[in-house]
Every structure is written in structure tokens, then in C-alpha cells.
Symmetry: D4
Subunit: 255 residues, 8 copies
């Protein structure tokens, strides 16, 4: 949209026909497969390629979507991928890297994988039941080129476990706090650091936990400053925001 | 009920008439005022006299209830007492001690008030907005003869405030943890002590706090052992249980 | 933390090097397995060893956790253990005692099992559907060395069943009241005893029970004094608190 | 509708014109005031005249509605009537009987008021805060000609208060159980009687009571047989059903 | 309890020993199986024998419970019985009558089954998805000796289906209205009859039905008089109350 | 946007400068007042001018917004207008027509008001408490030029009241069904007509009505076809849709 | 009902007997199968034949219902049909057209299928997970003779995908907006068109989506005019209303 | 805590006594007023001074808290300040800057106020009812030294209002999206930018908005990447996080 005057000037100069200009003004930067509209320009626009949410995707569509995105971006990340979906994808992409704990699949060149991440994102979990959400976050951060530090099973029922890693936590650019049950971890971390905390409630728990609602409300009502919250079990979403912040910290902006 | 054989033996021995025995077996240990049935034997049975929940009581009934309980027990505690209700009661009981912050009224002899409490109950709050609930708890504990230690405004967003008072907290027989917003305080304390924590969620907060629901769920789902929960803003109820536990610790039982 | 002056004096006296002192001040009293941080000092601190919540634990981690805790504490209790997890653990620990109704596993010497419990905790259930929660509570109480009395299927729809066991209930130091459906049991018991009642709502019921929510709200709103509540189906949690209280009653404290 | 053949025969016989028959077939047995449609035939159909729910009715409409129903039925009951509405109505009907506790107004002849009620409906409340709902029920029962027995402040936290009145309760044709807070009263009564219990949750309570929701869920999930439930604070509705049942018990039916 | 004076007189007269009298005063009119307390006197007290809620009962206990109740009452009704539980019971009771739609099992003599029911209970459903709840109600009514009339698939989206059976509905002593989705059936029937309507919300529906919550709220808020509500899918509970009312209508009471 | 080629052609032809074309492409069809952005082209685009939701609007802004819209459209409708807001507006617009029941204000010429509406929208309410919502709907329909038929107080507890007006209802192009309490009205009407029913739940009711939630769920789960729902008390929103449908019915489309 | 005078005249004239007239007045325009009451006149009354909601229908009943409706209407649509139900139906109707994605079955002649639909209904989805609901809607629209335009995977996270199809959307008579997750699609479309938008929340999502509740609330609270909502995942219901509106637009009405 | 080795070295060297070292190790970096514990070191630790949440603070405490923080930090920000509280504070601090719309008070030197903010935070609102929350955010951002750009009344019902300011939005380091009603604004912005969006649901709306719940769920379930959420109406909290991110972007970190 920002090139509108350039384009209009080209029309005026006759270097661009009216028909072509109209086409460009209307051109949709996506690939319409009928059942889906793939955003192939996203990496260009945001520096972060489209990621595939595999859950519920029909087998007929899944491989096609990976093929197109792989061709366009040279790498693909998929989340919420079931073992049978991973099996299916491996038939087409033998190099596929599948992690069953986090349910993530990666298509990436060896070099790209070997590349060291920039900045630092700390990922802290309250218990072992939060691991799969934390690993979804960690794999996403790394896919997008950020360095991670992991501090697992450091819930507030044993503060010394958390405090023993305080230096690691305080030296990150952004923290992802993953916790189920009552989710108090986010508030405690929020009180210990001066950078943003992205809180991820998990569905770990039972009874009055109501599948993550308890932890979600805890995090939304945090008495600590600097805590914002994403959906229950949304490790990917937290990672995405953390990467955005980590990049701003590493590269800065011109404003 | 446990005297049933003694009573029957007395009947057999002729030292008690059938009519009188029947009366005793059926005698209701309460005073029926029509609009209310006062439990005058409760102090005898449980060591803790009936307490008046003033909120919503009709003016016509309130004074009468205080009069009867004062006569029976020699002291009365009232909770959730509005300023106008306190005003009304003062007309009959000029010695009434009303605390507007906690909404409690006390009718007690000077000696009884001066008496030192036994054992130790620690009352900890997360913020200043939790004070009125904490004070309701404190006044109740003291009315029932327990010593209290108060640690206010020690929420988890500034752990050092809490940790600076750790010795006080750890030396109590039971802890009352009062917190609104996300209520994480109870979990953190639960991880630091080896005695029971009675958690009181408060309605302090706004939005997704849903009038105390967030703190309530937090406390019910605590990842720490030894935490049990009472109703939102129920400082009185928490105090009652804490007194029961404190008494067990001080006096023990014969089992 | 309380030895801080002793430690500083040792530094001053030169009997402790600065490096070693710093190490001790920071030393975390837990074992970091990467995927989990085991609290091996808990028994020392609280008199109650760490218990394993088996549900959702990965097979790779479960046996290792039991092995480490068994070595450290000489006994282990596991809760929410599935039949297949019990099968797995039996391969390493043939002496494992698994109770399928309550889903608990025990690793304990014969002598320790034979030991008689102290004090008295009464466990009362409303119906037969509450048995598994009650048995989780009972096995936990006994693991931690408390004596239990069980009164099952004594719900309020047939008061005579409850009243026939009143003496047993009234002679305990603390009551665990386990009830699903509407959960009225806790209120009725609360009115009959002078010791704390730990109320455990269960998910037994259907429809407007909303998986235990109805019983939970009932217990939180109890019109009886002395009732506090734990999470739905949390037999273990109720037992933990009951043991804390029972110990206070048996041993007392020095305050 | 049951007279359709009679009406058709009259048409065939010529004793009723087609136009008149059509009119009768379509005639609405109500009075259309524009803003309201009064059901003047209800007393004829059901033996129970239309009752006015005053709350929220515009002053312009209220007096007119009372006037019309008084003219048609010779007596009117109004519920949820505010003091200012009662004041307004008294200007037109000086004989109006207003009870501020229950918020009910009565227009009735002296003879009708003096008439003794038939059968027996027991109205039991858990606490004094439930009185206004109980009195709405009692006044409605009496308006419709049923005898009532009132047992107030007999909640389950002091079972002896309830058991002392057991004979009265057991001799009624139907029980109305009114309770706020946790609402356990209905279950306990349901276990003690063999007639239907109409349970009325009240909004008395606070916090996790959620304005009567806790008591409502308790009653819907009652472990006792014979308990059905009406809306929160709906004393009128419970009374209406109780009267229907009491009448069936007194008069029987021919089936 | 009412024989207390007679018993005391016998003690005084020496015709009853103190020990025996004490025993009788405490004797519980139930059979304690350890895992359950069967109420064998209920039929005597209420005219309605204890019914077995099979769901969740352990196989070890189920047959024993049926055996004891069959011996005591000569007939047994079981609800929420799974096919495999029915299979199990048939091994002991080959004469067992199992209805898979309603999930009910019956043990009854041929004569008793052939007996005609008294009075009349109309059971109306909104749709075909409500049939299993309606049949649970119908089988319960018949077990307890009441005659039923069934009107199925008569929801308010096609009023003519309901109105065509109006005479049947209006001639019953009590109506059971069974409806899922939005549950409007109860309100419409309530406006058409002068006897009590017991409303049963069912979990039939999807989405914003929230497993029966929508129908439940509809019924609790009914604008029609004479509607009371039981738990979602509780066909048995509605039938129990309907039988109580039908009996009152048939036999009357002496009050 | 559809003129994009025309505009480009003008640029190519030199009849429009690049700067002016860019301006037009970016021109926002609204008036930015800083605190608000008024959509002055809406009437042109949709045939329906922007309506002012007065509730919560600051006095400083309200008059200015009315002034601008009046100037642009020649008429203004305001909803949820408090008496004091109406008073304020009258100072600037003495001709303002305020209806306190519905809380609507109208600025319109005499001719426009006198104009007869097209088509037919039937507005039906269950009770008198739903009038204010119904009148908001009616005034909105009329403002946008649609004819209305009003049938008030025709709830399902007295079906004859509704059926007596069936012809009126069935001859409308679209029905607005307004109901609080249990909201069954929409389902019953949906079963009687072949045109769309726009259901408006109202907050009339109490207790388990939960401020309109009960009626809302009822309407969303309607067993009748052709029922769609708007927000609680949203008479304006229902009217807007009804007008859209009525216009389609009157004018048709060319597709 | 509208022929009532004609019928009465016939009675008067003797051309219709009283008995026959009574029969006709009471005749129910449905077929009572006992387990179900089929509405065979619906197509006549509303122009839209009864559709079968297959989910939960017993195998014994399903084929019979299809047979009867096929005979009466010459075509049948079934929704929420499982693969095994489709298998069963194919045994009787080999020509059955089953679409497993949408779960719909069609019995229709070749000619009828080939017929071109009238008017235009646009069906827009936010993501690929909404396809099954959208296809249920599309197949229903087409069954009832309306033309559809499908725009899938056009959610608001990539506005250009939606805007690129704006002309298609704006030229429809009515829009069906299908969206899960946060459901913002309906509001954005509502702001872009001048015809009614029927919003269908879907259960696509997880966590705080609460099975479609999030999208449902979004749609009910839409800030755009002209949006009304149906139940979660109710593609059929939205289509039914859209067809009603589309027909009005195509044919108009005479009012 | 990081100076622990330095401190120990000083002890060893004798430059610090054991007692003083112990004191420092325990020294709490806060001022204990009894009723509150002020965090005077926060500005030092995090670069952001403690802010006063005025709502619910007792008059006795409020002025004292401001006095202490003003002395320590040289400037104070207060949020949720009522007009009467502002009045009270002005008595002590005549220079107080109170903004009644946002409910914020500022104590700051003229120079500090005049200082230009760094970086850029865009604050976008959906409607005029969201202004007070947006202004709370804006004033907080500015207090902490960040530059803001405000785009108000740009909700998705009129996309052109939002798109006309796209350049401003896209050039910020972080966006605060403030919206009530259905809250779709955050998702649409999230799809248009590559920096983090902090979403603030507001309680603006009515009915099924449930005081902000609808907007909250919308934002948590956003289909756009890069959106995280804070509590309902929590403009301050969103601003705090935005400032943290903006600072990272401006200054970067050394990781």
C-alpha cells in the first residue's frame, strides 16, 4: 500500500498499464488452494514464515500445505502434529524432524538447524506436566532463531528450586512462564525480573482447575507488573511473542 | 448423647422418673425465639460460643439476639456489622467495641480482653485491600483466646517482603493466608511451612477476578501441600478453624 | 537460612572459605534430574517425604523418580497411579504394594507398615462412589503414620447411618468428609463435632453436578463452623492437612 | 376446547349462528389492556386466580391491573411489591394488607381471610436470612387456602433444632424447604419424610455462593429422593406447587 | 424414636435390661456391608423400597447389594445399569428384566408385574433423543405402582403434536415433562394444566446447550406456575416425586 | 473501491493529478472528531444512517455528535439515552422526541415522521417487563421506514393469548420475539411461522435467570427452525436486522 | 385454522357431519410412529420439508423415518449422519448421496439436483477447521434451492484474503459467517455489507475457547450492525434462516 | 543478592562486622508502614518506580503512601483515583495533576513532564467507551518516558477508520489494542503488524458481554500471532508491559 504513489506515477508515465496497475492494487499475496489460502508473503512482511497448526487438518490437505510452504520458505514448522500425521508427512519428507513430546515437526536444512540463536528467551515451568507446552514454545523460539534457556520443574511450592536459577532468569530478554494447577509461577517471576513475562496457563491439573481455567485466571489477575497472558496450552503463541520481543531487544528499531 | 446409659441406669434405679428422662432425651439445647433458634449450649459442647452474623438481620431481632447470648455466655462477637447496626447495639450496650474496618463488634469484660492468647496463629495478607478480611480473622482468633501475629502487605510480587518475616511465619501453629487478585500467596507460604495453611480468597481485584473467583480457584488448586480453603472474604471462618487447630496444638488430645 | 550468623562467624574465623560459604548459601536442597527437581530434604524439613503424583508422568521418568526418592527416604508413596504404571514399577520394585481402587502405590519396609498409627483421623464418605477418594486419603494418612477410622456410605439422605457412628466421629482429632452429588455431609458433620473438618468434594454425580462443582460450592458455603475445603477428588491433599493437624494434637508445639 | 362438539351441534341445530360460533371458538379468555393481557378465566380453569408480580411494573399499569383482577376474582395477591408500590396501591385500595418482610400485598374480604386452611404445608428455613422468601411462600399458601406450619432457623449446622420439630414436618402433605448458603437443608429433610419436598434456594450468603447458585446446585443434586427445585428466592413458585399437591392430597382425583 | 417412652417404661418395669434398651436406642435400621449401608426399613417407612443406582458400583459389590435387597423387599429396581452389569446380574438372577434403552433392571414376581397401576402420571417428551430419560421415569413409576401415559416427540416446534394429546395430559394427576435442547416444553405444559409439572432437563443437544444447562435454566425460570425441576437426565428422580404426588392424589392424607 | 479503474484511467488521461488520486484513494469516508470517528457515508452505503448509542458517552461529546450527524443525514436516532442526556440534548434541539420507556431519542422532520412504513415487522413480547426492549426495537424499525405490528404480553404460559393473534404474526415478513425469564416464546413462534424470527433475550427475571443468560441459551438452542439470536436486551440490533430483511422482502434484489 | 368459518358453514349446510367436522378441527397434520411424530405437512406450510437430525437416532427408527419422509416429500435431507448410519441407510436407499466432511445425506432425484439455485447466499469461513460446519450449511442451502458462493479460509488474521473476495460477498442477499477461535470474522463482514449476516460460531479451537463459547460471545456482542447468531456448529440452522431470507429477497411478499 | 561474595570478602577482611553483614543480608529493601510495605528500591531494580493503585485505599493511608513515594522517587503516578481521593491529595500536594477521565493522578516536576518520550507505543481503541482505559494506558506510558500515538474509535465495524491510520500503527514498537464489546480489534491489528500487540479487553458493553468476559475470551483466542492479553480494563498493566518492550527496542540488551 505504501507504494501507491510510485505505482500511480508509473501509470502516469505510461511505464505501467492501467490494467496491470489495477491488478497489482488488488493482487492478493497468498496462494488459494480452495480449501486453504496460504500466506506466502508473511516471511517477507514479518520475518516469520507461516506455521502449520496440524490438529484437525485433513490428510488430503496436510501434505499439500507442507509442500507449498516448504517450496516458498525453505523451512516449515508444524505444531499439534499427531504421530499418525507425522508418519504421513515422513512419506513425502523423509528428513522430517518429529518431537512426540511437544507434537512439533520441523523441515529445515542442516545448516539452519546448526545456526546459533540470538538474544535470550528463558522458558520456566512449574512442574513436569507442563513440559510438552514448554517444549512447543522452545522449539518455536529456536525455529525463529532465538536462543533459549530452559528451567523446568521450578514451581513455587519449592521456592529454592526457582531462586537457584535466578541469574539465568534475570539475564533473559523475555521470560515464558508455563504453569498449570494454580499458575502462581508467573506472579512470582514477575516480581523478580524487569523484562516482560509471557504467561502460559496449562491444562495440567484436575477438579476445580477446570482444564486450565484456574491457572488462566491467576495469570490474568497477577499482582506483579509485566505479566501478559496467552491461551491455555498455547506454547506456540507465547513463543511467537517472545521472539518478537527478543528481536526488538537484539536489533532495536529506528523510532 | 454419650450419657444415655447413665440416664437409663438412673431410670432403672428410680432416681429419675420416666417423664423427666424422656424430657431430657428430647430437650433441645437451644432457645427458640420464633424468628431464630439460639444455640446456648454451643460453648459447653465446643468451647466456642455462638457468633452473630449481623448482615441482613432485622433491627427488631438483632438486639434481642445479642441480649440473650450475652446473658448466656458473658461475651458476644458479631461479624459483618454495619455502622448503623453498631449504632443501634450501642444504645443497649454502651460498652460495645466496634471496629469499622473489620465490621466486628465485641461485648466482653475488661479482664477477658486483657487476657493473653495461647499458642500462635500467623495472619498474612497479600495487599492492603485484604486488611478488612484479615482483621475479621484476627479479632475472631483473639475473641476465642488465641495469640496472633500479623504480617500485612507481603504479596508475592515482592518476595523479599514475605521472606523478611519468614521466622515469624514458621513459628506459628497454623497460618491464615489472606489474598485477593490471583491469590498466589497461599501456595508460596504452603511451600515454606510445615503446619496447616488456611487460605482465604478475598474479593479484592477487578475484571477477570470475578469477585474473588480467581483467588478461590488458585487456592483450591495450590501446588503446595497443606493448604485448605474457605469461602471468599470469610475471615471469620478461617479464624474458627485456625483456633480449633491452635487449641489442639496447645492442649493436645487423649487419643 | 537460620544458620546465617554461624556461617558468617565461621568465615570470619577462617574455618570456612569464602567460596565454600557462598556455595552453601546458594546450595539448593534438591536433586536436579533435568526433567524434574526432587526435594530430598523435605522429610527433614517437614517430617513428610515428597509424594509422587504419577498421573501424566512419562514412563521414562517415573521409575527414576521412585528410585531416587526410595534411596533418599527409605519409603515412597505414589498417588493417581494407573494399572500400567504400577505394572512398570513392579518390574523394578517387586515388593510394590498397589491398590487399584485408590490408585496408590507404596514402597515401604514390613516393619514400617506394621507400625501402629498415632492419634486419630476419621474418614467419612457419603456414598459408595466416594470410596476411591476416601481410600486415597486413608492410605496417605497411614503412610504418614496417623491412625484412621473409616465410616463409609453414611450420607445425609439416611441420617441414622451417620448418627449410629457419632461416637467414633466425635473422638477423632480431625475429620475428613468425602462427598459427591450435593456434598451436604460436610455441613452436617461440622455441626456435630468440635474439631476441624477437611471437606473433599468428589466428582461423583451427573448433570448439574458439573463434575464436582456442586459439592465444592456446598462445602465452601457451609453453614457450619470448622469446615475447610480442598480440590475436587483431592483425597491426598485432605489427608496431608489432616496429618499435620493430627500431629499437632498428638505432639503439641512449644509456642 | 372440550365443548367443541356441543358447540358444533348447536350450530347444526341452528341454535347458534355461524358467526357467533366462530367468535366463541376464537374468543380469548383474557382481557387485553394493550400493555398486558389479564387471564381472567384462570381461577375457573385452575382454581387459582392470577397473581401479580409487581416488580418492574410501571406505576401507570399497576393500579389498573389490580382493579381489573379484583373486579374479576374478588381477591388479589401481589408479590415482590416495593414499599412505594404498596403506598400507591393503598391510595386506591385502603384495605390493602402489605407485609414488608415478604413484599406481598393482599386484597381480600375479612371472611375469606378468617377461613381456615385445608391440609398442611410445612415451611422450613435454614436461617433467619431466609425468612422473607419463606414468608412469601407462607402468604401464598394461605391465600390459596392451604394451612401452613412454620419451622424457621432450623439449619443443619444444629441438627437438634430440626429434629425437635420432626413430628410437625412428617405430618405435612408437602414440605417447602427454604435455604441459602449451601442449601443442605433440603437433602436432610428429604431423608426424613415420605412426601414431596419443594426446595427453594435463596440468595442468602456471599462469595462462592454466587447469589444462590451454590444452594441451587445443592438442591438439584440432592442425594435424597423426593426433592424438586424452583428458582432462587422463588417462594411464590414453591408455594404454588405445594398448594397443588396439598389439594390433590385433600381432595384426591378420580383417575 | 416415637416409642421412647414405651421403651423407658419397659426399662423401669424391668422387662427390658439397660443394655438392651441402649442397644435399641442406638440400633440402626440398616445393614452395614462395610462398603455400603443398605436401608432395609425404607419400604416400611416410606412405602418405596431402596433403588440401586448401578453406575460406578464395583462388580464385587453390585450382586451382593441386589441379593440383600431382593431378600428384604421381594423386588428390586436398578437404574443406570450398563449392559455388562446387566450381564453380570443375570448370572445370579436369570429372571432379571433389563431394558437397554433406559438402562433399568427389574427383579419382580410375575404377579407384581401384571398388577395394574393406580392413578395417572403423564410422561411427555420434546424429542426422540429424550426417550431414554423418559423410559427411566416410566419404568420407575410403574415399579412403584403408578399408571403412566406416554406422549413422546411432542416438542413445541410443532404445537399441534402436543395439543392433539391435551386431554390425556390434562387428565393426569401429575406431569413429567422431559426435554433437552432449549427445554421450552415444561413452560408450555405448565400453562395448559392445573396439576404439578415435574420438569426433567436432558443433555440432548449440542454447543450452547452445555450438556443440559440450557434446558435446566429454562425450566428453573419457567414463566408458568406449577413447574419444579430435577437434575439433568434424572428420570428416576422425577418419577419418584411424581409417584409421591400420585399416591397423595389417590389415597389422600388425614390432615 | 469499485471505481479504482476509473480513477486510474483519469490519472492516465491527465484529468486527475497523481497527488489528488492518492488523496482520494486514501480518503476516509468519516469525520474524525478526535474522540470519535463519525461514519457520514453509511447512509449512502447501506441506506441506514449511523445511530448513536448514548450510554456512557461524555456530555462534552454527545451534543457534538448529534449536531454533526443531524447536519449530514437530516435525521438522527439515539438509543440508551438517559433522562439527563435527553435534557441536555433538548437544550440544543428543542424538537427532540424522547421516549423514556425505550430510552430512545429522535430528531426527524414532521413529514418524515408522518411517512407510512413499508412491509411488516411483527414485534411480540412474552411479558410486560419486556416492553422497554420491544419499544426500542419498534422505534428503530419505524425510524428506518418499516411498518410494525405489536403483540405484547403474549407469553407461552397462556398460549391462547399468542394464538389469538396468530394471523397478525403469520402475515409479517419477519418476527422480533422479545422474552425474558425462560425465553420459550421464540421457539413457539418459530414453530408457527415460515419467515425468520429474530429472538431478543431480555434481562427480565431473577435468580437462575442470571441477567438474561437463561433466555439467551434457550433461544440459541431453539428446537424450531428459523430462529437466530442477538445480545441480551438488544432491541436495536434485532430491529436493524429485521429492517434489512423486510427491505429485501419489499424491494427484492437483482441476483 | 383459517378455514374455520368455511368448515362451520359446511356443518350448518349439512354437507359435513358434526363428527367429521370435530375430527378435522382436531386432526393433527403429522404421522405418529409412536417413537416419533413426523411433520408431513411442513413442506406445504413453509415450503421447506422436515429435515432429519440423525445424531443419536436409534437404528431401528432411522430407516423408517427416511422411508416415510421420502414417500411424503420426494426428497430427504439428513444432517449429523455418522458413517455407520450412512452405511445403514444405503442398504435401503442405494442412491443415497453421503458427504462425510459435512455429515449430510441427500435423497433427491437427478433432475432436482441439477436444478440451479435462486438468489445468492455467501458462505465465508475463517479457517479450514470450520469447513465441516460450512459444508453442512452449503448442502442445506442447496437442498432448499438457494445458490451459494463459498469463500473459505478468509479469517481476519490476513485481511487481504477476505478483501480480495469482497465483491462476491457484497453481492449476496445474505451472508453466513462461520468462525471458531475468537470468531471476529462476523464483525468484520458485518461492517462491510448491507445485508443480514448469520453468524455461526464453531467449536474449532482449544483452551479458553471453551468449545465454541468464545466465538459465540464474540458474535453476540458484535460491534457491527446486522449480525445475528445461531448455536455453536449449527450450520444447518444458519442455512435455514439464510434460505428464508434469500427467498424473501427473490420472491418478495405482498405486504 | 549478587553482591554476596563481595560482602563475604569484606567480612573475611574485617572491613565489615558479622553483625552488620547479617543485617545487610536480611535488610528488606522496603519501608514497612505497618498497613503497607512500600517498595522504595523498585525504581533502582527495574527502572520503573512503584505506582499507587488508589481504589479501596483508606484515606488515612493514601496521603502517607504518596508522601513517602514522592520523597523516595521524586515523582508518583496513581491509578484508579476517585475525584474525592484526588481532592484529598490536592490538600497536601497542590501541584497534583488529576485526569478524571482516566482516573490517574501525577506528581511530577515541570521539566520531567516536558521531557519527550522515547520510542513509540501505539494505543488503538475500538470505540469511545474504551477511552478511559486507553487514557490510563497513555498516561502510564508517558509517565515511564515512552512516546505514544493515539488512534481512537477505530473499531472493526468500520475497517476504513483503522486502515486509514495503518502507517502510524505499523511504525510503533508495540501496540496496545483496547476494545470492549466483542474485542475483535486485537485480532485484526495482530494480522497487520509484525510487533507485539498487548490486548486490553474493556467492560464496555452489556448483556452477553458479561462485564468484559466476551472481549477477554476473544483476545485470548485470537487467530492472529503476536497477541497477548491482560486483565479486563487494565490499561495500566498493558502500558507497563508496552514500556518494557519499547525500552528493549530503544536500548537493546547485551545478550
Amino acid at each position: 500500500m505504501q507504494d501507491v504513489e510510485a505505482l500511480l506515477t508509473a501509470v502516469k508515465n505510461g511505464t505501467l498499464s492501467v490494467a496491470d496497475a489495477a491488478l497489482q492494487l488488488k493482487a492478493a499475496p497468498f496462494l488459494d488452494l480452495g480449501f486453504a489460502k496460504l500466506d506466502l508473503h508473511r516471511k517477507l512482511r514479518t520475518g516469520m514464515a507461516e506455521v502449520v497448526f496440524c490438529q484437525g487438518k485433513d490428510d488430503r490437505f496436510l501434505t499439500e500445505i507442507f509442500r507449498r510452504l516448504y517450496a516458498a520458505n525453505g523451512e516449515v514448522l508444524g505444531t499439534r502434529c499427531s504421530p499418525s500425521q507425522a508418519e504421513l508427512l515422513k512419506q513425502t519428507f523423509p528428513e522430517l524432524d518429529y518431537d512426540s513430546l511437544s507434537g512439533t515437526v520441523l523441515l529445515q536444512s542442516v545448516e539452519r538447524k546448526a545456526r546459533e540463536g540470538v538474544g535470550c528467551i528463558a522458558i520456566v515451568t512449574a512442574g513436569t506436566a507442563d513440559l510438552k507446552v514448554a517444549e512447543e514454545a522452545a522449539r518455536t523460539c529456536e525455529f525463529f532463531g532465538s536462543r533459549t534457556v530452559k528451567i523446568y520443574d521450578a514451581g513455587v511450592s519449592g521456592l529454592h528450586r526457582l531462586l537457584s536459577r535466578l541469574t539465568d532468569i534475570q539475564s533473559a530478554n523475555v521470560i515464558i512462564a508455563v504453569a498449570g494447577m494454580e499458575g502462581a509461577l508467573a506472579s512470582v517471576i514477575g516480581g523478580l525480573v524487569s523484562v516482560p513475562v509471557i504467561a502460559v496457563p496449562t491444562s495440567a491439573g484436575y477438579g476445580a482447575n477446570f482444564k486450565g481455567l484456574a491457572a488462566l485466571l491467576t495469570m490474568l489477575n497477577s499482582c506483579s507488573n509485566g505479566v501478559s497472558t496467552v491461551n491455555i496450552d498455547n506454547g506456540y503463541g507465547a513463543a511467537y511473542i517472545a521472539v518478537q520481543i527478543n528481536r526488538l531487544a537484539v536489533k532495536g528499531r529506528v523510532n
